[in-house]
């Protein structure tokens, strides 16, 4: 008789087998180009975004862009930064982003793959950097992105630092991308890690958080899987000086974290009101 372990294994297989293999060829520069004006409108008018220091990113060659992640399942700073990168360096420069398995395998989000979004794992990341592309990663992932709103100005990778080894092995510099505002696009109350364990989605779908938040138009939302209206929080992004990936994992990770945290503190100090900025 099939036990609960078999059922879990079956369900896990159903999820994993649907995660598309990294196919860097799915990125489509013409598609991205057509989307930029829409993103520009959203970023400029709705989120009143401001992106600074793009000149600190090396002009060519592979580079690992490491950001702090905000905004739940609708992270505005990711869209704003993608727009900024594609606008500044042109859609001709290959640029990929790592995202959670569930993001790249959700059918309504298939178009993200044309933007160069690939499933977050070491192999995909290595392939992207070896191809000479710029790669955007958020080590904090679903842990950081669902942090409660009162921790909105805290950079917290949840102890994840695999990105350092990734950069070192590929021999590429790390460029920290600090951003504020994203965590004010909804009222995040709890990461809901206990809920993820309870529902067993942590094992089934690598989903460590089932967040609880207040967001229009629904009010109280659990899981952030239903489309909601993000609040028009002002997004500010600062690209920082590259950090050499050679050396001890912990030391480099520490450097990246402190660079990001000081950037976030600086940008946060400029804000006078929540959401409005």
């Amino acid at each position: 008789m099939a036990g609960i372990g078999d059922v879990l294994e079956w369900a896990r297989h159903q999820v994993v087998s649907r995660v598309p293999k990294a196919d860097l060829d799915q990125r489509d520069p013409d598609y991205i180009r057509d989307q930029l004006p829409g993103l520009w409108l959203l970023a400029s008018i709705y989120f009143r975004a401001d992106v600074r220091g793009l000149d600190r990113i090396p002009n060519d060659g592979p580079v690992l862009l490491v950001g702090n992640h905000s905004g739940g399942n609708l992270p505005p700073d990711t869209f704003v930064f993608t727009l900024a990168f594609c606008s500044y360096f042109g859609v001709e420069r290959p640029f990929y982003q790592l995202a959670h398995n569930l993001v790249v395998s959700a059918p309504p989000l298939a178009s993200l793959r044309k933007f160069g979004t690939v499933a977050a794992n070491h192999e995909n990341a290595r392939l992207a950097l070896e191809s000479g592309a710029a790669l955007l990663v958020y080590p904090g992932g679903d842990y950081e992105v669902f942090r409660p709103v009162w921790e909105r100005h805290k950079v917290d990778f949840g102890g994840r630092k695999g990105y350092v080894r990734l950069a070192r092995e590929a021999g590429v510099p790390i460029v920290p991308i600090a951003s504020v505002g994203g965590q004010e696009s909804a009222l995040f109350l709890d990461r809901g890690q206990w809920l993820a364990k309870l529902l067993m989605v942590d094992k089934l779908a690598r989903l460590k958080s089932v967040p609880i938040l207040l967001a229009p138009p629904w009010g109280l939302v659990v899981s952030d899987m239903i489309p909601r209206l993000p609040l028009p929080a002002k997004i500010t992004i600062e690209v920082q000086e590259p950090i050499d990936s050679a050396g001890d994992d912990d030391a480099v990770n520490e450097k990246v974290l402190s660079s990001l945290q000081s950037g976030v503190d600086r940008l946060a100090a400029e804000r006078r009101f929540p959401v409005v900025g």
Binding site: D34, W40, V80, S87
Partner: protein, 144 residues
């Protein structure tokens, strides 16, 4: 969208030409210039390429441009190679008493259909302001 601003500068046409045909001086008189890089070596002329980005809205907008008209000291025009579709032009005309009429024009077209058209319209005000500021700074530089 086509946006145009004009002014009269109390300076000789050749002097105005010297400034607008010198790539090194662009950052000194163009406001909102987020990126200005020379791609081809040598003095400006037909075929010279530059990377130009203005901060319009939330991000730097622009791309690689190539000079397509270089008619000293009357016309300087460029067209975009990458990035947003754009043509730009400086027209210099002689006015009375050694003054010069300067026209600075940008025609641009964002990709992406309807959203592109809306973005074009919304950007018009800021582009117009950038052009006007450019001419104001140019005038101040030449008349000082």
């Amino acid at each position: 969208m086509r946006v145009e601003r004009r002014c009269v500068i109390d300076a000789d046409r050749d002097d105005v030409w010297k400034v607008v045909s010198d790539p090194d001086r662009y950052p000194t008189f163009m406001p909102n210039l987020a990126r200005w890089e020379t791609i081809t070596d040598g003095p400006m002329g037909i075929g010279a390429r530059y990377t130009v980005h203005w901060k319009i809205g939330s991000v730097p907008v622009g791309g690689v441009i190539e000079v397509v008209e270089f008619d000293q000291p009357r016309e300087l025009a460029w067209t975009s190679i990458t990035g947003i579709t754009m043509r730009g032009r400086f027209r210099l005309r002689e006015d009375a008493e050694g003054r010069t009429r300067v026209t600075f024009r940008l025609s641009y077209q964002a990709p992406g259909g309807l959203l592109g058209l809306i973005a074009d319209r919304i950007a018009t005000r800021q582009v117009g302001r950038t052009l006007a500021e450019t001419l104001k700074t140019l005038k101040a530089q030449l008349e000082s």
